[in-house]
Symmetry: C2
Subunit: 190 residues, 2 copies
């Protein structure tokens, strides 16, 4: 799946410097920085920046891949240690937590999930897949209805991501998750 040609030493170094600096900048909340400036600040030329990351989103994805991977890994753990419905609930709560503690991640996911970016980056597909697996397991255990797919739940997650920059929306985010979980538990009408 990944040809992964080994990068030349200096190339790897530059790439890493770029990601490190970007992480720092995002952590400071500076999401709308002029793209070229990421290069300037990381001490590389703009050409180099663009070669490694053709778009702003590509850079953001690299920065948050770690967090995303961790999140998905957690899904696996939960599936082993909890009953299916609880695992799903805990996972979704965790996602909300993460969004509100990492604004940059929220914004990145919101962008990547939006239809205008048709790359349909790995990031959110991974997240969607994790949710799908948890839901399938729960449905097979009879803990939630089986007539609703992960895509539906991801719509709510999408809404949460795009709104997570307003800290005041936190309560609403928790509430919609509660409502969705309750709604999933309910059997489909015949």
């Amino acid at each position: 799946m990944s040809p992964e040609k080994p990068l030349r030493a200096d190339a790897r170094r530059n790439r890493e410097a770029l990601v490190a600096k970007a992480r720092e900048i995002f952590a400071a909340g500076d999401f709308d920085l002029r793209f070229d400036d990421f290069a300037k600040l990381a001490g590389v030329g703009t050409g180099t920046l663009y070669r490694h990351f053709p778009t702003r989103e590509a850079l953001a994805e690299a920065v948050y891949r770690e967090e995303l991977t961790a999140m998905v890994a957690r899904a696996g753990e939960l599936r082993k240690t909890h009953p299916p419905a609880e695992a799903l609930a805990a996972f979704l709560r965790g996602v909300v937590d993460l969004m509100y503690s990492h604004q940059g991640l929220a914004r990145t996911l919101a962008t990547l999930m939006s239809p205008q970016v048709d790359v349909l980056a790995e990031g959110d597909q991974t997240l969607g897949r994790a949710v799908a697996e948890l839901m399938t397991a729960a449905a097979e255990a009879g803990a939630i209805r089986a007539d609703v797919g992960a895509g539906a739940v991801m719509l709510a997650v999408q809404g949460i991501c795009t709104t997570a920059e307003h800290p005041s929306s936190r309560a609403d985010a928790d509430d919609i998750i509660t409502v969705v979980l309750d709604g999933l538990r309910r059997e489909a009408a015949p």
Copy 2:
């Protein structure tokens, strides 16, 4: 609430030409047209465009105000003709329908609801208020739980709006509404 200074005759004419042309352009699906070109195509100068509509969103809002107003009016009707829970359900289904039949409206609402546009334009506030009223009525009638506000439901709506450009997401949108409605019907856990 609205000082509404009467516009000079030619000013009103230009403004209307702008909105009409924009509606036409949006209907054709050309959402990302260079902003200045809206002026060119409507036969006015760019300055005029910017005076009437300082941002792209302002123009979009003007174009879709009609649809929005109609939608909110429908909420009022439903409240009179249906039991509260049904009114809420019918309204939300209607919103989804409208989004998938008017891509431009979906995109506009998605943009206006996003936190980056802090104008918090009239449009979505109105929509939110309509949902809030329907929910309050339903809660007072004991038909849905009272511990969840309209904001939570609007998060799901937000997700639907931003995804409505993929026609393939339609089923998911319907599903999430079903799930949310079911979740609302359930009493809060003690």
